[in-house]
Symmetry: C2
Subunit: 487 residues, 2 copies
């Protein structure tokens, strides 16, 4: 009895363990599923164009598959029909430019390599049945080696990498397979036709169904990067000096808000993505506000300058929570100028970003640049007298570094502004409507050089002098644009 | 007479112009040819493995072409033989890891998608002749969309991007073409066999003919990046203070030598390349000193810290030729400590680089880190008293910023050293033979914490105290390692 009881007890125990094991497995699976689902949702939410792209890919493939079911097409192409499907899968890319580039590369390379392959095949056939494989092998070796090496040239790598690959592929296939199949020219022709058919399907869907233009992407990317740097600079003053900002808001204190101070980090590694987009953009036809020969290189130049600024911001960021904080009275002395420098630079960068977004001349940005330059100069005046007799340098070293880095950032912002102006000129950005800009502290305007507004193609800018400050505008650099611009 | 003379004169003039035009064209062509030749030479000279890679590619293609000429193989595979050639062209990559990854992805995806395609084809055939195209079209749309979306997951993008592409390709080809070709299973089998044949050819040549390992490449890349930063820091002191260096060499003055100060710039944008190499390295089998599960992630972490350091160096670089130079007497006060900080950090980074290169424990690097930390602390002491009464802060702001950035760089070097130590531990770097390290200025050793040498698995390190300095080693932190390490 006891043994039977023991046995049934064991059985129950085993079943219970099995039950728990299965439940555990199910739970684990459920957890995994929830994880994947939430990740998928996030991916789709972050950029809904990803979902659209996937659907477009499915559509393009289903469309090209129809070719198999149309007897006239299938009968004329035969097995080569599959090249159409193959082309759609490999050519269809996220952006129009990438799709066009790949389609062009594939078509052109197939044509060139096909012609060369037929030539090589003809030459080899002159060498007799014995010599033919050797001659063809030699040709394949020579062309494949040379073409592979050409992929190391940066210019070829950037625009024609895929073309060279397809060139090697087609040349090998045509010249080698020619040994067996007599109808080589017909095959080459069929392949080219189906590849063109596939490429055209991709290009058509890519352009006419919710297109994603690489050029627009690059354009927006530059604006977004400017905004990220601006976000940091906007928040930096309040964060470093832990003060109430001028508009009464307190310094950022929740975790979510502080994330804005980290957003610039993605700018640091933006080079590769920008270069790829610029390469793709060069394949694109005119679209929206972008002409065929839009100055994409100027975007890369601007992007490089933004990264320069981001490196300074990265260095600055490590001082927000510095161990050694300067004495409060010293900090107080430099506070206004520092906050001004960073917030005015932020405003300038924001203006430049919105000018890029709206494709208008960035007229008002220079005024903010001038304001930040004014703050930098007033800081210099402060620094000459700021040092209390008994301060040791060690205590103020981090505060001094912060100011020096901010001055550097003001220079960076100036360079960026110049580059965006050049971009606006090259890309013929439109003129904005009436804009009002306020120059503060006109007393020290004479210390800085403001780029004359007349140069900026901004005929309707009204410059208001802040009445609260004594209006001792000295008749120096500003006088000319002031006279000219008030309408 | 005159007319005839005029005519012959015109003819001569025309011929002369033609002659000059042709000569000009030839010269232009010659110039272009010389340009391309010199560029080719440079590409080959910069990395001779490029030439080897190209020859390997030619070899692999010629080898696989032989399949066409072996009647037994060609007879059993038929037209499918071309998939072998196609596979070689697209799978053969510069590094072993990339080739292996692509080969694995291609083989695996073909197998999975082939099986699924046959299944889909079977299911669709149940729907009758009318329903089949619709069902298959639906399947293709669904799978292509889902698979395309999966390419946006970073994990899949990094390792299986090519596999997903081939999955879509094969599934479409098999399920669609099945409508016409009855021998679908045989085709799928032939395709898989030829793809495996092609992949194996690539992998074989890639591994056994002058292999380029992605892992080794990443390993060297990290060492090279460390050396680039070290080069800058080594040269910085002399360049900024424009002094004779301690070893009697004058500051860098020729253009060629100054290029060393620019080499670090490539480190700023090294992230993408490093991540790619780490992805490829994960596919590689053990080779040389690298085990199968070598800690590649730790390389990425170290690379990130090196970039952090490079951002500081970039900020520092702009001060070499600052407009406002500090008064000579102030510069002189901070000079020794600054040069020490930068040169000792440089030595530490060099030691770390050579430890990585030789795969030995980086025992002596920490001593240089300690030296640079000592210099930083002594600088702090100097700064407390350095300020002459009549100095205005504006004049010394750039010099102060340089010192602050150097202190930051010392911290960065410390982080890098820690990360390399972790790497050495994870990758089980070997122990070095007897090493002699010199601790200078032992008087202030007590100010800093030196990581006990006993932790570093360096049983045979001899620490020499610089006899020229008064040997007042205080019995603090160093005492333990000193006792333990002298053998």
């Amino acid at each position: 009895m006891e043994i039977i009881g023991q046995e049934s007890h064991d059985k129950v125990g085993f079943l219970a363990r099995m039950w728990w094991w299965i439940m555990g497995l199910l739970n684990k699976f459920k957890g995994k599923l929830i994880g994947v689902t939430s990740k998928t949702k996030k991916l789709g939410k972050d950029d809904p164009r990803r979902i659209i792209h996937s659907v477009k890919m499915g559509l393009a493939l289903s469309l090209i598959s129809l070719v198999y079911y149309f007897r006239p097409i299938y009968d004329s192409f035969g097995v080569s029909t599959m090249w159409a499907v193959l082309t759609v899968v490999v050519v269809f890319e996220f952006t129009v430019g990438a799709t066009l580039g790949k389609g062009f590369n594939r078509g052109m390379a197939t044509f060139l390599a096909g012609a060369l392959g037929v030539g090589a095949h003809h030459l080899a056939s002159l060498a007799g049945e014995q010599g033919e494989p050797i001659v063809i092998g030699f040709f394949v070796f020579l062309l494949a080696s040379a073409a592979s090496f050409s992929r190391f040239y940066p210019e070829i790598k950037a625009r024609y990498d895929y073309g060279v690959l397809i060139f090697i592929l087609t040349f090998s296939l045509v010249s080698v397979s020619g040994y067996r199949v007599e109808k080589i020219v017909q095959l080459a022709h069929q392949r080219l036709s189906t590849i063109i058919l596939g490429s055209l399907t991709c290009v058509f869907i890519s352009i006419f169904v919710c297109p994603v233009w690489a050029g627009e992407e690059l354009h927006n990317q530059i604006a977004v990067n400017l905004e990220k740097i601006a976000d940091f600079l906007e928040g930096f003053g309040g964060e470093y000096f832990q003060t109430e900002l001028s508009n009464g808001e307190s310094a950022l204190d929740t975790k979510d808000e502080k994330l804005f101070l980290e957003r610039y980090k993605s700018v640091l590694n933006s080079k590769t993505a920008e270069e790829n987009l610029a390469n793709f953009a060069q394949w694109e036809p005119c679209h929206g506000h972008f002409r065929y020969q839009h100055p994409w290189k100027q975007y890369l130049k601007t992007g490089g300058l933004i990264r320069q600024c981001a490196y300074r911001v990265e260095a600055l960021n490590s001082y927000i929570k510095s161990e050694i904080q300067a004495p409060p009275e010293f900090k107080k002395k430099i506070q206004d100028a520092c906050i001004k420098m960073s917030s005015e630079s932020a405003k300038a960068l924001s203006e430049l970003a919105s000018a890029i977004r709206t494709m208008t001349q960035p007229c008002t940005a220079n005024v903010h640049i001038a304001n930040s330059r004014i703050a930098a100069n007033s800081l210099k005046t402060t620094l000459k007298t700021a040092l209390p007799m008994d301060t040791d340098l060690l205590q103020i070293i981090s505060a001094v570094t912060v100011t020096a880095l901010l001055v550097e950032i003001v220079s960076c912002a100036e360079n960026i502004a110049e580059s965006v102006h050049e971009l606006a000129r090259l890309a013929k950005f439109k003129h904005p409507k009436e804009q009002i800009v306020v120059i503060e502290n006109p007393r020290i305007v004479h210390l800085v050089t403001i780029k004359p507004l007349s140069d900026m193609n901004c005929p309707q800018v009204v410059i208001k002098i802040d009445e609260s400050s004594p209006t001792l505008v000295e008749n120096t650099i500003l006088s000319k644009p002031l006279e000219k611009s008030v309408h």
